[in-house]
Symmetry: C2
Subunit: 304 residues, 2 copies
């Protein structure tokens, strides 16, 4: 079962979203209009065994990641946080102390990004092997220039990423995927600096290859990534930087000039937006030596 395909079906079959929906589902967040004001909203889930290991991860880091993942979607739209809501399914033996610690961590993370936790729901799953699942909804406002979507990349744009990629999820379950900063401030700075030259953006959760392909597909273009330019985390190959995911950095398409850093975070140019060749899908390709390899042929599994 492919999440992305399924959601696409559901949304494609929905002609009645109504005139209020300014950005339909399928982007990092959707946008609805409220009498002249716009509201961004989206939901994401953090699932034990997929996004974290329960036995080896401090509860505080689980709660933090649950909220930070959804906040990262606000960054992807260059939005300004408003509020957070969390629904949690707990195994029956989880216990009140850990449940409290989990909600406290979610609340503190939400507060730190000025997105207070205003709603919550807890359900207990009596199955002994039940998994912990946190579902986090975030609400935000677009910035002055409007939301930055996945669909605005133009042929000739430069493609760049923040930070370094790969190695975020270590085999023992630890790593940067638990401690990353949602790039909300960086995205706002970038939108302020580039203005209307900032055409499309996404946060890197599935991995640069897949996420850049989302921009390509939504924009009707091809994104050509240069393997030699990828800002790989120490010890990571370009294939790992492209495919491992859980980086929560930003990838964007914009007209030059592109700043070399923002707020102390390096910005690296990794490729460009080109016209899709006839009969080919709108996707990201990675240029390695003489070859241009479609990222969907690099053999990653879609895990969530």
């Amino acid at each position: 079962m492919r999440e992305f395909e399924l959601l696409k079906h559901v949304y494609a079959s929905n002609p009645r979203l109504g005139s209020r929906v300014e950005v339909p589902p399928g982007d990092d967040l959707a946008m609805v209009r409220l009498d002249g004001r716009n509201l961004l909203a989206g939901v994401d889930q953090l699932v034990e065994g997929i996004h974290f290991k329960l036995n080896t991860t401090p509860i505080e880091q689980i709660g933090r990641k649950a909220v930070a993942r959804s906040l990262s979607d606000i960054a992807a739209m260059a939005g300004i946080p408003i509020a957070t809501l969390a629904a949690v399914t707990l195994p029956a033996d989880f216990g009140s102390a850990r449940a409290t610690a989990l909600f406290d961590a979610m609340r503190l993370t939400a507060d730190a990004f000025h997105s207070p936790l205003i709603g919550g729901d807890i359900a207990i799953d009596p199955q002994p092997a039940a998994r912990l699942v946190c579902s986090v909804t975030v609400l935000a406002e677009p910035g002055h220039g409007g939301p930055v979507t996945r669909g605005g990349a133009q042929i000739g744009d430069t493609v760049a990423v923040s930070g370094s990629l790969g190695g975020s999820f270590k085999p023992d379950g630890s790593g940067r995927h638990l401690t990353f900063e949602p790039r909300i401030g960086l995205a706002r700075s970038l939108a302020g600096l580039l203005g209307h030259r900032l055409h499309a953006m996404i946060d890197l959760s599935d991995g640069l290859g897949r996420d850049a392909s989302h921009i390509a597909e939504q924009s009707g273009v091809t994104i050509m990534i240069d393997s030699g330019r990828l800002p790989c985390t120490d010890g990571c190959s370009w294939r790992e930087a492209l495919g491992m995911g859980e980086d929560y950095e930003l990838c964007f398409a914009a007209r030059r000039p592109i700043p070399r850093e923002i707020d102390g975070v390096p910005i690296t140019i990794i490729g460009e937006v080109v016209r899709t060749e006839r009969q080919q899908p709108h996707i990201a390709l990675v240029r390695d030596g003489d070859r241009a390899i479609p990222v969907n042929e690099l053999g990653w599994q879609h895990t969530s």
Copy 2:
């Protein structure tokens, strides 16, 4: 582990909700202010084995209930729906066809109440015994008179309910809990008719006894319910009408006169708001003959 207690702790320890939060968590929905406009938001979960039986319930009714439950919280505040977001955790063997049917049902229900499904997330739980969980967030606007909270009941108010109570969840899993109408239109009519005389409202998910106690606690009063006046569903005792839950009718406290019906749905006066006796908790009591029984002594288990 008591959901209500845990959430109360989490919210009580949060002094930093900020000046934007107009109605804090703990009501049916929270409310945040956006430059002069107010936004209501809340999240609720539908859990297999607690809120429905997977084997005997058509997928369409599961998706419908997941959304209708959250829409019922909008009714409780007399709000006007804006949009819906759904996150679903599926057992690995659920299959694409059923997943599509589930999302289609959620989308159609959301559309029917003018609250389009603008966001979704799907996670697959690889455990063979994994349970289906739907987490649904709703966004709404308050009506002209502002939101109707749980906290405004005043001594001398009349307490009334819509529809009939009890017998919603039949032993085989079927029943009105799968087919109820969220009382959004009725709540709007009631707010329009009563205006500022409508002081407090809640939707009946946990059961009238517990839900009326939420109004009592938040308002700092006692609610005295007359067992003989309860509009029991055919075949239900007053204890069942008070305790079974899943009615999704409205219970409200208001100054008289109270209409006898709204939009064809009967409205029944069931009691009154009185001063809490010294040293006693703010709770609902049920008067049966000469006795006034605190509803928390009637022995219901809190299931979700």
